[in-house]
Subunit: 193 residues, 2 copies
Amino acid sequence: MARRGDHTFEELSSMILNAAYEILETEGFQKISTRKIATKIGYTVGTLYNVFQNLEDIFIHLNARTLDSLIKSLSESDVTSIKSLAYAYVKFSQESFNAWSLLFEYQFDDKTQFPRWYQPKVDSLLGIVANSLKDLSGKCSPEKTKESIIVIWSSIHGICILSNRGKLNKTGASDPKSLIDNLIDNYLKGLLA
Amino acid sequence: MARRGDHTFEELSSMILNAAYEILETEGFQKISTRKIATKIGYTVGTLYNVFQNLEDIFIHLNARTLDSLIKSLSESDVTSIKSLAYAYVKFSQESFNAWSLLFEYQFDDKTQFPRWYQPKVDSLLGIVANSLKDLSGKCSPEKTKESIIVIWSSIHGICILSNRGKLNKTGASDPKSLIDNLIDNYLKGLLA
DNA sequence: ACCTGAACACCGTTCAAGT
DNA sequence: ACCTGAACACCGTTCAAGT
């Protein structure tokens, strides 16, 4: 066929990401391949490498999208309540299971450099959580507050993992909402006691 | 070369698992391949399929080993204290990072059937945790106790994930011990209040 | 400048053929 | 009965050659 010029760099970029995101959502990140993406958009594999560094680079851009929609989901809940944020987070992790999986479980190569725009997205996510806990800062030291935010966040994340996969409890899958209530109620009670 | 008979079925089985475990520990599960294992033990790939169903089957057996050594590690700590169990768990996840990763992060195919002997190992792991929290049963209902065990366990797991990878906090990696103290102290205080 | 097509170095899995 | 070797259907990545 040879050159096309049918699409600009930006068009190609979003065609690639759209195709990849489609495979991600329907089949999971394990099934994403450069060749499959290329076929979907009607180009050969080589073309992907004009737009992205490699497959991991594409994964990073997919994760950026997922972060954006996760932030959007959380923002649409009651951002003043840590519990409603946690519910929204669980809901997102269930509804966008494959995307969430790539975001939090894919192990990037240690050498992989993340682009500058990535970390701010993560920070704004943590900012939403921190904001819902700002009453703490009246009761605890700034260090304690910061640490507590990390504790709550990672605990909620742990509960998501546990309830989304059957890793440890093949039997008796507990309702994640109930686990989150249990966690947050008791933890905050202890912290503010 | 043709047939060897140099090794029994059981010998072959442990040769394969040893080779696979070696790759797992040094390079991570992503780098395990049937061809690499075969080369390491001096057989061709086909031989692996006389002993194991497929690569996932080998992974399950690797996870069984990891579960055993995790259980051993936890048993050697002060099993009456949830905090020392949590410390031991964090330590294990750091020292055996790649094995821990395969155990908790690899996504097996939904169709994959786990062998009968697998779940009892998981149960005995949870049993150790449950045992360290048995004072709770005096204070809470059995259901509440069970749920609280899951909450604590998954929260500790979440803290491990957070501190082992740089997923959310590229900046300011908190000491996991301090996070665990924070979690358990406050959570139990609230629960027993 | 952009894209192709073929190549390179890998995969997991199967199975007829050999001993 | 056990193992090989080749085949099949895939991978990610690179790059000379075409337009």
